[in-house]
C-alpha cells in the first residue's frame, strides 16, 4: 500500500474541493448522477492539489521499478481507454497504469469509420456508460469533446488530450520530471518551443507551471502562436536564442509535417534552422538546462537527433517513465470519489 498518509489527505481533498480538480459536472447532471471526480484540464487547478498529485505519483515510481509491479488498489475496477484519435504512447501508458493498479483495462479505438456510420460522441458515451466502467480515459481530436463526454456518463473521466485544448496528464508528468531533477518548480525559467498554436501540451503546461510559480517563455514563429496568448501569463519570443537564454528547462513541441501544407512554415529545413534545438542554440541556456519533449519526436525538425539522445541533457525517456506514475496517481485519485459514492472503502 503506497503512502497511507497521502492517501487519507487526498480523500479529504477530494471532499473539500470537488469543483476544482474534480471539475465536477456542470449543468443538469447534478441531480442525475452521483458526483464524480474528473481530470479534464489544468486550468484553474490550485497549487495544493497539483502538489498532492505529484507527491502521490512519487510513490508509484517506486512501485513501477519493483520486480512485482502490481498492486490491487483498483481491483474490480474497469478502465476503458477510449481513443478517437490515434495514439500509442499515451494509451499504453494509461493501460500500464491501470494494470499495475489491478484494474481491468480495455482499449477501444473509435475509428473514423464508426463516426461516419453516424454514431455521435454522445451515443458512444452512453453505450460505454451502459457497460459500467469506473474510469474512462478519453482522447479526441476536437477541443472540448472530452468535457462533453464527461457530462453524459456516470463514471470518472480523465482527459488524455482533446484537440488543441488540454492534455493534463502530460503537464503533470512534465512537472514531476522537472521536480525530481530540480527539486522545485518555483522560480524556474521554462521555455516552451514550437507549435504552440495547435498544442494542448503547451496549454496544460502553461497553466500548471504558472500555478507552481515557474516563469514561462514561449518561442515560436508568429504563425504558430495563438492570438492573445500573452494573456495566459507568458513571455513570448520569436528569436530562439532570446527565448532560451538562461532557461532551466527547454520543452520542445512536435511540429506536425502537415503544417508545411498549411503555410505555417515554409520548410522543415528553415524551421530547424530558426526554431530547432541544436547544441549551438542550447549553449545560451543554463549549463544544466534540461531538454524535454512530449514525443513522438521529429528528429532533425524540432530537435537535433544527437542532442535528443544525450543522456546528460535530455530527460525524454524519464518523462515516459513519469507518465506511467502520474497516470497511476490520477487513476487512484479519481476512483476514490467513486468509492465514496459506492459506500465502500477502497482501502
Amino acid at each position: 500500500m503506497p503512502n497511507r498518509r497521502a492517501y487519507r489527505c487526498l480523500a479529504a481533498l477530494a471532499d473539500a474541493s470537488y469543483k476544482q480538480i474534480l471539475m465536477a459536472n456542470p449543468l443538469n447532471d447534478a441531480g442525475l448522477h452521483p458526483p464524480r471526480m474528473h481530470i479534464l484540464g489544468m486550468e484553474g487547478i490550485p497549487r495544493e492539489e497539483i502538489v498532492t498529485l505529484l507527491d502521490l505519483s512519487e510513490s508509484y515510481i517506486e512501485q513501477s521499478r519493483q520486480h512485482d509491479k502490481k498492486s490491487s488498489i483498483l481491483r474490480g475496477r474497469t478502465l476503458i481507454n477510449v481513443f478517437f484519435e490515434n495514439s500509442t504512447r499515451t494509451r499504453t501508458s494509461f493501460e500500464l497504469a491501470g494494470k499495475r493498479l489491478g484494474a481491468d483495462v480495455i482499449n477501444m479505438s473509435v475509428s473514423a469509420s464508426a463516426i461516419k456510420k453516424g454514431e455521435t460522441l454522445i451515443d458512444t458515451a452512453m453505450t460505454l456508460n451502459a457497460m459500467h466502467p469506473d474510469v474512462l480515459t478519453v482522447r479526441h481530436s476536437d477541443s472540448g469533446a472530452v468535457q462533453l463526454l464527461s457530462e453524459k456518463v456516470t463514471c470518472s473521466v480523465i482527459n488524455a488530450g482533446d484537440g488543441s485544448h488540454e492534455h493534463p496528464t502530460q503537464a503533470l508528468l512534465d512537472a514531476l520530471t522537472i521536480r525530481r531533477r530540480k527539486k522545485s518548480l518555483e522560480g524556474l525559467t521554462v521555455a516552451i518551443c514550437g507549435d504552440i498554436l495547435h498544442s494542448r501540451v503547451a496549454r496544460s503546461n502553461i497553466y500548471l507551471l504558472n500555478t507552481m510559480g515557474a516563469h514561462v517563455r514561449l518561442v515560436a514563429p508568429k504563425t504558430l502562436l495563438p492570438a492573445a496568448i500573452e494573456q495566459l501569463g507568458v513571455e513570448v519570443h520569436h528569436n530562439m536564442r532570446d527565448g532560451i537564454r538562461d532557461a532551466d528547462i527547454i520543452m520542445m513541441l512536435r511540429l506536425q509535417t502537415e503544417r508545411m501544407q498549411g503555410s505555417y512554415v515554409p520548410s522543415t529545413r528553415e524551421y530547424f534552422r530558426f526554431f530547432g534545438l541544436d547544441r549551438d542554440k542550447l549553449a545560451v541556456a543554463k549549463p544544466d538546462a534540461l531538454i524535454m519533449h512530449p514525443g513522438p519526436m521529429n528528429r532533425g525538425i524540432e530537435i537535433d537527433s544527437e542532442l535528443a539522445d544525450d543522456i546528460h541533457r535530455s530527460v525524454i525517456h524519464e518523462q515516459v517513465e513519469m507518465g506511467v506514475a502520474v497516470r497511476m496517481a490520477c487513476l487512484d485519485l479519481v476512483t476514490r470519489s467513486l468509492s465514496r459514492n459506492d459506500g465502500e472503502d477502497a482501502a
Binding site: 456542470p26 486550468e43 455521435t120 460522441l121 454522445i122 479526441h140 476536437d142 477541443s143 472540448g144 469533446a145 468535457q147 462533453l148 482533446d162 484537440g163 488543441s164 485544448h165 488540454e166 494542448r200 496549454r203 495563438p226 492570438a227 492573445a228 496568448i229 494573456q231 495566459l232
Partner: protein, 432 residues
C-alpha cells in the same frame, strides 16, 4: 362592413415612420388601418365599434424580422412554417423574411412558389422570401433576379455565404442595379475565416478553438463598398458585429453610398466570453465578438449607422448542437427574444423606444419596399401591443419554435408582446 370596425384605445402609439409617440387610438376596419392618432374619438368610440383597451401598453406596427432561417424545405425537423409562425406571433413579429439557404435553395421560381403556398396555408404571420444570389448558393452563377423578383423575392442574398469572387460580386451588383434590387451580403472574408470556430482572442486560445480574426468582416465590407461605388447598386451588410465594420459603414453613409446594415440581438447582448465551457448555443456566424465590438454595435444603433435589428433566427435541433464545438452547427433561435433583448437597449443604453422600434418595423419595411411597418390609414392592420416593463424569464423549453437553441435560457428580461395582430386577426394574445 361596420361590424368589422375595431378600436384599440388607451395605447401608447409608437409609429416611427411618422415620429408619433403619444397616447391614442388605432381604428381598424377588417384587415386595414382606418385611422390612428391621439385625438381619435374625443367623445369615445361610437357603439358600432368594438373597443379593445390596451391598458396603456405600447402599440406599434408589427415587427418585421428581415433575417430568419426557416429551414423548410429540407430541415423540417428543426422548424416548419407552423412552428416558425407560432414563434413569430409570440414574439410580436408579423412579417418575416426567410433566407434562401433551404434545401433545395430558393434559387428558382418553383421554390418561391412553394414558400408562398406554405405561407398561405399556415396563415398565421406573413412570410416573405429572399432569392439566392447564385444558383445553389455556390457563388458562381447568377439566379434569375428579374423573374424571381416578379415572383416575390424581396431582395437577394446567399444567406450565410459571402460572394467571395470579386468579379462575380461586381456582376451581381451591376446586374442587380439594373432592376434596382437590394443585395444582402454576409460580410466575412471566407478564406480568412476558414475552419474558424469563434472570434480569435483569449477565449479561443484558452479553449483551443481555431479563431476567426475580427478583421475578416471589415475586409469583405471594404471590398464590397468599392464595388458599390463602381456600380451604384443598393447594398446591405447583414449582421455587422465589429467596430471596424461599423466605422466603415458610417463613413460610406457619410459619402452618400446606398449602403445599409443590420445586426442581431446576440451581438449587442453577448461576447465571446459566453462561449466558455464550449457552449454550442453560443456558436453563431459571424461569431460573438469582444466587449469593445459589442459596445460599438450599441453605438452604431444609437447614432443610426445600423439601420435594422433582425433576429437572425437560426433553429438547430439537439443533434446539431449536442456535439463537440467544432462539429456543432451555428445558430440561435431569435424570433421570440428579439423584442425583449432589443428593449433592453432602451433601459441600459438610453436609446429611445421609438428609435428601437424603427429598427424593427419601418426601417426594414422601407428597405425592402414593403407596405408593412407603419401605422397609417389604408395600410395592413399588422400591429403589436407590448408591455415594455413586463418582467419575465426566458425559458428555452417554453419557446414555440421547434428548436430550443437559445443561449438566453433562464435570462430575466423585460418587455413582452401582449397581443400580435396580423391583418386585423389576433394571432397571439395575453390580454385576456
Amino acid at each position: 362592413m361596420t361590424e368589422q370596425l375595431r378600436a384599440y384605445v388607451n395605447a401608447r402609439l409608437l409609429d416611427p415612420a411618422s415620429g408619433l409617440d403619444q397616447t391614442g387610438t388605432v381604428l381598424i376596419d377588417g384587415n386595414k388601418i382606418v385611422d390612428t392618432g391621439p385625438h381619435l374619438f374625443p367623445n369615445g368610440p361610437p357603439p358600432n365599434v368594438q373597443v379593445i383597451d390596451c391598458k396603456g401598453y405600447c402599440l406599434a406596427p408589427g415587427l418585421i424580422d428581415m433575417r430568419v432561417h426557416l429551414p423548410e424545405p429540407g430541415g423540417e425537423q428543426k422548424e416548419s412554417f407552423e412552428t416558425a409562425s407560432a414563434a413569430a406571433a409570440a414574439g410580436g413579429v408579423t412579417s418575416l423574411i426567410c433566407l434562401p439557404d433551404t434545401d433545395p435553395a430558393i434559387d428558382n421560381v418553383s421554390v418561391i412558389e412553394f414558400i408562398a403556398r406554405r405561407a398561405r396555408e399556415t396563415n398565421i404571420v406573413k412570410i416573405y422570401a429572399y432569392g439566392a444570389i447564385t444558383r445553389g448558393l455556390e457563388g458562381t452563377e447568377l439566379t434569375e433576379f428579374g423573374i424571381l423578383s416578379e415572383a416575390g423575392a424581396l431582395a437577394f442574398t446567399d444567406a450565410t455565404r459571402a460572394i467571395a469572387d470579386t468579379l462575380v460580386m461586381r456582376r451581381v451588383l451591376s446586374y442587380a442595379s439594373t432592376f434596382d434590387l437590394l443585395i444582402v451580403q454576409h460580410p466575412e472574408e471566407p478564406r480568412l475565416a476558414r475552419n474558424g470556430q469563434m472570434t480569435e482572442g483569449e477565449m479561443a486560445t484558452r479553449l483551443g478553438l481555431a479563431g476567426i480574426p475580427a478583421v475578416a468582416e471589415v475586409m469583405m465590407l471594404e471590398r464590397d463598398l468599392r464595388l458599390v461605388e463602381l456600380t451604384g447598386a443598393r447594398y446591405h451588410a447583414a449582421h455587422v458585429t465589429t467596430a471596424a465594420a461599423i466605422d466603415v459603414i458610417r463613413g460610406a453613409k457619410a459619402r452618400g453610398l446606398p449602403v445599409t446594415c443590420d445586426t442581431a440581438p446576440h451581438y449587442f447582448t453577448l461576447t465571446d466570453a459566453a462561449t466558455d465551457g464550449y457552449r454550442t448555443f453560443t456558436k453563431v456566424s459571424p461569431p460573438l465578438r469582444s466587449e469593445e465590438d459589442r459596445l460599438a454595435v450599441i453605438e452604431g444603433l444609437r447614432d443610426g449607422t445600423i439601420d435594422v435589428i433582425a433576429s437572425d433566427h437560426r433553429p438547430q435541433d439537439q443533434d446539431s448542437k449536442r456535439l463537440p464545438f467544432v462539429q456543432a452547427e451555428p445558430g440561435i433561435v431569435g424570433l421570440e427574444t428579439l423584442l425583449p433583448l432589443t428593449l433592453a437597449l432602451h433601459r441600459e443604453a438610453g436609446i429611445s423606444l421609438l428609435d428601437l422600434i424603427r429598427r424593427l418595423t419601418s426601417a426594414p419595411g422601407s428597405l425592402l419596399r414593403m407596405k408593412e411597418g407603419r401605422l397609417a390609414p389604408g395600410l395592413p392592420a399588422d400591429m403589436v401591443i407590448f408591455d415594455p416593463d413586463h418582467e419575465w424569464t426566458i425559458e428555452a423549453t417554453e419557446l414555440k419554435s421547434r428548436s430550443k437553441n437559445t443561449p438566453f435560457d433562464q435570462m430575466p428580461v423585460q418587455g413582452k408582446a401582449m397581443c400580435t395582430i396580423v391583418g386585423g386577426r389576433h394571432v397571439h394574445s395575453l390580454m385576456g
